[in-house]
């Protein structure tokens, strides 16, 4: 009785005696053997079962061994089948025959007359390679499945993250819109604008260090923390302190967020803000009307959130009356380097803001496109968020 099946070998030779010898040795060594007496027979057998190895005689009737090799190696379905060409031994031509065989795609050759030990050694060596090839193919399949799963997860996460952003709209008397472009689908930028129970609105834009999944998760922590703390009566400074504490509790040491927080007060016609290491937003008095004043960068320097428990934050107030406009952004908008190694920078953006459109959507597109064209043909290398908020002119 033969040993356990070690693999399938197709033996193709016009001489029955040779086939019998091969069958005997290979079966005894544990291989399943299929026989074919000519080229057509090989192709017919291969439609029924695909062997791991083909052992074919050079002078096979019908389709010669070398032709058969070309056919199998030229077909994507059969090109990975290990092919050994059996060639007649001749002292003078041996090496040329071997070279020819290998150059048309045969994996190995063996001389006739066959010696059983050599035959089994070569077939054994072939099956070591076949086994390795099978393992690599399996690993590739596993990796592909893994990559596709991760990709799908990321796409879902990215969609979820977009759904966390406020929809373009209004919280009377404020109107807002945004442009958002994370690197690799998911990112560490977040922004939120929420009506306050006692009137007005709370505003947040934040940029978590790094990008990718970890940053995205932390950005969700920042947003949740923000939404929890704005219910209390305090202002941006208090909110910043609370988010700072939440982040320190929930993140590792290298992760932190720059943020700009503001409380918009329509009754007072102003807003109070705290800037935690974030890019200074740009304030344009009457920016939403046809008569904009010079843009001002709301610089202030406080620490980013989530860095140190002891850090304190400061608060400032600025008028924000009907017709005024506020432009917030994350550093990805201005910090990508162009091919000539230039960055738009906060200064470049401020300059652009002296000549903006009046319509909010047009302005958002104008800024975003300008930044994009500045670095073209490169793409943004960090997450980009741009937010515009106007205090709407009544009846305007």
């Amino acid at each position: 009785m033969a040993q356990q099946n070690k693999g399938i070998v197709l033996v193709a030779d016009g001489e029955a005696a040779i086939r019998d010898i091969l069958l005997f040795y290979l079966k005894r060594s544990g291989f399943q053997v299929i026989q074919a007496e000519d080229g057509q027979d090989v192709l017919l057998e291969m439609t029924k079962i695909q062997p791991d190895l083909v052992l074919a005689d050079l002078s096979l009737p019908g389709i010669s061994g070398d032709q058969l090799c070309r056919i199998l190696k030229g077909n994507p379905d059969t090109k990975d089948i290990y092919f050994i060409l059996m060639t007649p031994f001749s002292e003078y031509t041996d090496i040329e025959v071997t070279i020819d065989a290998l150059s048309i795609g045969a994996d190995d050759t063996i001389n006739k007359p066959l010696r059983s030990q050599e035959l089994l050694a070569r077939v054994g060596s072939a099956f070591r390679l076949i086994q390795m090839q099978k393992e690599i193919k399996q690993q590739n399949r596993d990796l592909t499945v893994f990559r596709e799963n991760v990709q799908r997860e990321l796409e879902l996460a990215a969609r979820l993250q977009v759904s966390l952003l406020p929809e373009v709209g209004t919280i009377a008397p404020y109107q807002y819109t945004h442009r958002y472009k994370p690197v690799g689908g998911i990112g560490g930028d977040i922004y939120a604008i929420t009506p306050l129970p006692y009137g007005g609105a709370a505003l947040l834009i934040a940029d978590v260090s790094g990008h990718g999944v970890t940053s995205a998760l932390i950005s969700a922590v920042v947003k949740t923390s923000f939404e929890n703390h704005i219910r209390s009566r305090g202002g941006p400074m208090t909110w910043a302190q609370c988010i700072n504490r939440d982040l320190l509790r929930n993140t590792m040491e290298e992760q932190f967020a720059t943020a700009f927080l503001a409380k918009l007060d329509p009754m007072e016609g102003n807003f109070t803000y705290a800037c935690a290491g974030h890019e200074p937003p740009i304030y344009i008095a009457q920016g939403a009307t046809g008569n904009p004043k010079s843009p001002i960068a709301l610089s202030s320097s406080s620490h980013p959130l989530g860095m140190d428990e002891s850090m304190s934050f400061t608060e400032h107030t600025i008028t924000f009356e009907p017709g005024d406009r506020l432009i917030l952004y994350t550093d990805g908008l201005v910090e990508t380097e162009s091919e000539s190694q230039k960055r738009l920078g906060a200064e470049g953006l401020l300059q652009l803001c002296s000549a903006l459109a009046t319509n909010q959507e047009d302005t958002a597109s104008q800024i975003f496109q300008y930044a994009q064209e500045f670095i073209a043909p490169r793409e943004f290398s960090d997450d980009v968020t741009l937010v515009l908020i106007d205090h709407v002119v009544p009846g305007g």
Partner: protein, 112 residues
């Protein structure tokens, strides 16, 4: 790729950083800092940023983490030779007050 050089002074380790310190290369710098601290347990770690053309928030995060690692072994972290574009980022994030910053490596090494 960052160009990193590490050397030992009498009581201090010095890491010289050249290049852009961003998300893509933070792993490299993190490894250098970790290894220096683990191997030499320096009383003083000086990071020379003279050749840094750009630093992003990931890079800042790494420096903050470096400070807390060295705090844990009761050592100190001194930064030196900050180019103006790096200084600007430190100013914006108020980290000029968080780190000990020196104009030259000599100052950073001799400061107590």
């Amino acid at each position: 790729m960052l160009n990193l050089q590490t050397r030992q002074e009498e009581n201090a380790s010095v890491i010289t950083v050249k290049g852009k310190v961003n998300f893509e290369v933070t792993a490299q710098l993190r490894e250098a800092v970790k290894e220096t601290i683990a191997t030499h347990q320096p009383k003083l770690l000086v990071i020379n940023l003279e050749g840094v053309s750009f630093i992003d928030s990931s890079g800042l995060g790494l420096l903050v983490a470096a400070r807390s690692s060295i705090d844990k072994i009761n050592g100190r972290l001194h930064l030196c030779n900050l180019p103006s574009q790096v200084m600007k980022v430190f100013d914006q994030t108020n980290l000029t007050n968080y780190f000990s910053i020196y104009a030259s490596e000599q100052d950073a090494l001799s400061a107590l």
